[in-house]
């Protein structure tokens, strides 16, 4: 017999369901015309730079098939880089090159690929293989994040990223996603990455969950999640809530990575952030969103909103 949770209990816990998220939040607070800024990563980057939000450095943009050969040639100037589809979704089509081995490129997983395979990846990207709705796309090449050594032990073959859900400028919930061997280096909770719920008040871990079960240590590196305290927490919250102002989207998922030298850097924005963050935090979003609505009604001040959020959503008193 499949064990289910009763809808009434879910409601008590304040779990946000997919239908309510779509109708009550995305449909209501995220105007369609503003999606472009989020779905097009080049526009996001441009806007972020204008708003003094740090982003990874852009190396090149490839717009047409005939530019691929020359562009791949030009990439030899960089030891490490990341190729992304400009309008990609769900982390699809991201190729991370961490270094060189003669003529070959080393992927983040350690396997070597030839320049030919890099060109094929670019060609597929331009044809829209990884993009929303399969439209023709562009590819962008940006600097690889040298992630903060403090987080190294929390990730296996990949960059741990921090997801902050911000509603009307109030940071509501946060988690860190750590890639594991099981998730094939991808920070996707479905595929077995560990989701670590983060306390909004302190930046400390609340709990860590893999495949829906609590874990205390990273399954591959053995690092204990109990001791995790994210550095630059103030700046992370600040960045998260500033993105809401920048995009005009009320309900936003902000993906942040910690760079060794630059601190929190905006990786990408998501106008339809998933619900897995509730599983990582073992807490529901609905009550927090209601509180956030009150906070936003109370004050317009950016810092005030964050201060109130830390006060209300703190778990470690």
């Amino acid at each position: 017999m499949i064990r289910l949770i009763s809808p009434r209990r879910l409601k008590e816990l304040g779990i946000l369901g997919m239908n309510r998220r779509n109708v009550g939040f995305i449909g209501k607070y995220n105007p369609r015309r503003n999606y472009r800024l989020v779905d097009d990563k080049l526009l996001t980057k441009e806007a972020a730079i204008k708003n003094n939000i740090p982003v990874p450095e852009l190396y090149a943009v490839i717009e047409a098939q005939h530019q691929i050969a020359a562009a791949t040639e030009a990439l030899s100037a960089h030891e490490a880089f990341v190729i992304k589809p400009v309008q990609g979704s769900g982390g699809k089509g991201i190729l991370v090159i961490v270094g060189r081995e003669g003529d070959q490129f080393r992927k983040s997983s350690g396997t070597l690929i030839s320049a030919e395979e890099v060109r094929r990846h670019l060609s597929n990207t331009l044809a829209g293989l990884y993009s929303l709705g399969g439209r023709n796309d562009r590819a962008m090449v940006e600097a690889m994040i040298q992630f903060d050594p403090y987080l190294e032990k929390y990730s296996y073959e990949g960059v741990p990223d921090i997801r902050v859900i911000a509603f009307k400028g109030v940071p509501v919930m946060a988690m860190m996603r750590c890639a594991t061997h099981a998730s094939d280096g991808k920070a996707n909770l479905h595929q077995g990455a560990v989701g670590v719920g983060i306390d909004i008040a302190t930046g400390k871990s609340v709990r860590a969950v893999q495949h829906g079960h609590l874990v205390t240590t990273h399954p591959d590196t053995g690092a204990s999640f109990d001791e995790l305290q994210l550095p630059y927490w103030d700046r992370i919250l600040d960045l998260g809530s500033r993105c809401v102002e920048m995009t005009g989207l009320g309900y936003l998922g902000v993906d942040i990575v910690l760079d060794k030298t630059r601190g929190p850097v905006l990786l990408e924005l998501n106008a339809r952030p998933g619900l897995a963050i509730q599983v990582a935090n073992m807490a529901g979003l609905r009550h927090r969103l209601a509180t956030a609505e009150k906070i936003a009604a109370e004050t317009d001040d950016h810092n005030m909103k964050i201060a109130l959020a830390r006060q209300h959503f703190g778990v470690h008193a």
């Binding site: 949770i5 409601k11 779990i15 239908n19 309510r20 044809a127 829209g128 479905h190 599983v279």
Partner: protein, 507 residues
């Protein structure tokens, strides 16, 4: 809140409109709400096409069918724009006559009738009069005599004589005399057979009519032979030599006269489009009684031309399938690949039947995925890769059709109706999914799509649903209302009760 009241208002209006119209039809017009006893009603649309001769008056005569062999004619429609039109009674036969002074372009005239056969009845008795003997050349007469002599020798009575004659004209290894007669008469085998029967002194004539096949377009007239065995009239199928009236044969006329006469035109053809509807017996009786007011009162699909009726029969089922998709996605939370792919797959299943459809679909998609993974190694651009997949899918469908034909599996032949594009897109989507998210996601979304498709299929083939959508198309408005309301559903999905099941225990 404003949008909520708006939705509630629109949905309420639509729902009441749909239900109201349905109730009106049910109680005022006597349409039964539940499918009771059914009558197979055939709509036969006759299409007369011809090329008019220059500067000549045009006259088109069509002999209209008589109610024979238990057939009941329900209603008739004539389409004749620009023509003078009369229905005349001539020698106890009704004839439709279209006339026009002159015309330039080739044109088409329509005659539509609805008919059903409550029970098959014997044809009425006729006096046995021998048909006219055709004049024969000397060599033809000799061949005829030899053939009749040979058949007489082999047969016991008139029945076996005629049966042998029909077989002789159908067999591959025809009698030399029979071959000769066929060759020199330059007429259809039925005419030659009638000539032989005339010379043998057996009264016989043709029965003209239509072999009924649902959804068939461009059907042509068929002939049966009727002969008198000294005792009574017997019907024989000149194609199969089967004795008796074949099933699903609409008798148009008893006798060999031509149905269609066109003066002032050439290249005339008479073709039929056929659709069968299962109608509740009660409604059919109502149609008989008020054949005229019926057309005014009813705005059901029956008002459409026959060819479109067939299409609409399937089309009206799509909203129901859409409701299934909406429920499965919003309330149950199944993942499907694309919103309407399941509906299209279900429509394909309607043509192949469920089990064959499922097996073929899974096989074709499986093989397609395997081929596509090979194509992806060739490093092709996306557009040409998808096109290549489409071509491979077509090849696979052709192979399946040929193989199944060779093995005598007629069912599998219908796989050609599977929309190629849908199959190719399914394959393409699934393989991208496979590369990006792994097999689990392919299994989830592909499986979800199939489950929803199967459910839609089951709902669409339900007798009651078929009955309601076809006889009460206004119910679609109510369906639309329900779908609109579901669009505002913010409750949990069934799948979320599973997804978040651990949140409780570990608090």
């Amino acid at each position: 809140m404003a949008s909520k009241t708006q939705i509630a208002f629109i949905a309420g209006t639509l729902f009441l409109l749909g239900v109201g119209l349905t109730l009106y039809k049910a109680f005022s017009l006597g349409f039964p709400l539940v499918p009771g006893e059914y009558r197979e009603v055939w709509t036969i649309e006759s299409k007369i096409s011809f090329t008019p001769s220059k500067d000549q008056p045009v006259q088109v005569d069509l002999t209209l069918p008589e109610p024979l062999a238990g057939w009941v004619l329900l209603e008739e429609h004539f389409a004749s724009s620009g023509f003078g039109f009369t229905v005349a009674e001539e020698a106890s036969r009704r004839k439709a006559r279209w006339t026009r002074q002159s015309m330039e372009d080739s044109t088409t005239l329509y005659y539509k009738l609805q008919a059903y056969q409550p029970s098959s009845a014997e044809l009425a008795d006729l006096p046995a009069t021998l048909q006219e003997k055709p004049l024969l050349e000397n060599d033809q007469a000799t061949a005829m005599e030899r053939l009749i002599g040979k058949l007489r020798e082999q047969s016991a009575d008139t029945d076996t004589f005629v049966a042998l004659l029909v077989t002789e004209f159908n067999e591959e290894s025809q009698d030399l005399d029979a071959q000769f007669l066929l060759g020199t008469f330059e007429e259809s085998p039925e005419v030659v057979m009638l000539a032989v029967l005339a010379h043998a002194g057996i009264p016989a004539h043709e029965i003209r009519g239509i072999r009924l096949e649902d959804g068939r377009r461009r059907q042509t007239l068929s002939s049966l032979l009727e002969f008198h065995n000294g005792d009574r009239w017997v019907v024989i199928d000149p194609a199969s030599a089967n004795i008796g009236m074949p099933a699903n044969f609409f008798v148009w006329q008893r006798g060999s006269d031509a149905l269609l006469a066109v003066a002032g035109g050439s290249n005339s053809t008479l073709q039929f489009a056929l659709v069968s509807n299962s109608l509740p017996a009660k409604a059919v009786i109502g149609m008989e009684q008020r054949a005229h007011e019926y057309a005014l009162l009813d705005f059901s699909i029956y008002a459409l031309p026959v060819e479109q009726q067939g299409v609409f029969k399937g089309l009206m089922l799509i909203p129901v399938a859409a409701l299934v998709v909406v429920i499965m996605r919003l309330i149950v939370g199944l993942k499907t690949s694309g919103t309407f792919m399941p509906i299209l797959i279900a429509l394909a299943f309607l043509q192949t039947q469920l089990l064959t459809g499922l097996v073929l679909f899974i096989t074709l998609v499986g093989v397609g995925l395997w081929i596509r993974s090979f194509l992806s190694h060739l490093n092709l651009l996306l557009v040409s890769r998808i096109s290549a997949v489409i071509i491979v899918v077509i090849f696979m469908m052709a192979t399946t059709a040929i193989l199944s034909y060779k093995f005598g599996l007629d069912r599998a032949l219908t796989v050609t109706f599977f929309p190629t594009i849908i199959l190719s897109w399914t394959i393409e989507r699934m393989s991208i999914l496979w590369e990006e998210e792994g097999f689990r996601e392919v299994f989830k979304q592909g499986g979800g799509s199939l489950v929803v498709a199967v459910l839609s299929y089951l709902v669409m083939t339900n007798r009651l649903v078929e009955h309601l959508t076809f006889n009460f198309p206004e119910l679609t408005l109510s369906l639309l209302a329900i779908i609109l309301l579901l669009g505002k559903y913010t409750g949990y999905r069934l799948s979320e009760l599973y997804r978040f099941r651990d949140l409780d225990k570990q608090q």
